[in-house]
Amino acid sequence: MKLEVLDLGTIAYKEAFYKQAELRACVREQAATHTLIFCEHPHVYTVSRNSRVLDSVFDYKAIDGRGAELICGVNRGGEITYHGPGQLMAYFILDLRDFGRDLSYFIACLEEVLVCTLRSFGIDAQTKKGFRGAWARNRKIASLGIGVEKWVTMHGFGLNVSTDMSFFDLIKPCGLDIEMTSMQKELGSSISAAEVKQEIKRHVAGIFTHQESLFYSKEASWQK
């Protein structure tokens, strides 16, 4: 079993969304292999289409004032969140028919990847009972949300590597009153996104298949 890795660099949220949807259709038809997409987005707030977040929770003008886009109706779980420079997105286009057809296990695996990755940088990360994502003590450092069609996933997680945390001040991330943090903030020093990607890849290979040979990388030729 192989998992292709695409690194799309900085890409608009919608463009990455369309790429995921296109790939998901191919994976479902077995015309493409399982794929892990890395990217970052320009400032954007996204709201899931099942969100219970009320309009009053966020301030449209303030979002505009920060130069951020607002996208509602996203087909993932979760509530409202922020994506932007310094936040590493890992999108998983996986056919869960090859991974036990277990949504809960898949989400737990994503959390395990996050915790192991963060710990490998010396951050005391953990999951939190009753809440999803990865936490550094009581601060949330990574959020996740997925969409599944016919057992093929899209979306994944956003890990705050060197995110400007002030963008979270405009919302209640995931609909919760919580403090968000980043790897840079926790460690007090800057982190290379390239190193974080390597660690994520290593732990994905270990956790999903226990095979180090899971990956091969391919240049994102579609972008050119």
Binding site: G77, D102, L103, F106, V148, E149, K150
Partner: protein, 76 residues
């Protein structure tokens, strides 16, 4: 009459919420066609029809919470 139920989603997931129906009552569906979008805390997913025929009756409305194994629709 075939019943569509909320399938097993994995250990620990016992219920999901109806996001919205993709098919209306009276519409023709084929086995495997996705008929309703459901959501758990961190995931959204579509439930396929288990039979071909007419979607006779929806047994849950948008926003309703449904447990694994509960009936979602009747296909005739």
């Amino acid at each position: 009459m075939a019943k569509v139920v909320l399938p097993e989603l994995g250990e620990g997931i016992e219920k999901a919420t109806v996001s919205y129906w993709l098919i209306e009552e009276g519409q023709q569906v084929k086995e495997g066609d996705e008929i309703v979008e459901m959501a758990t805390e961190k995931a959204v997913f579509n439930v396929p029809s288990t039979a071909s025929g007419i979607l006779k009756r929806k047994l849950a409305n948008d926003g309703d919470e449904v447990r694994v194994g509960d009936e979602l629709a009747e296909i005739e």
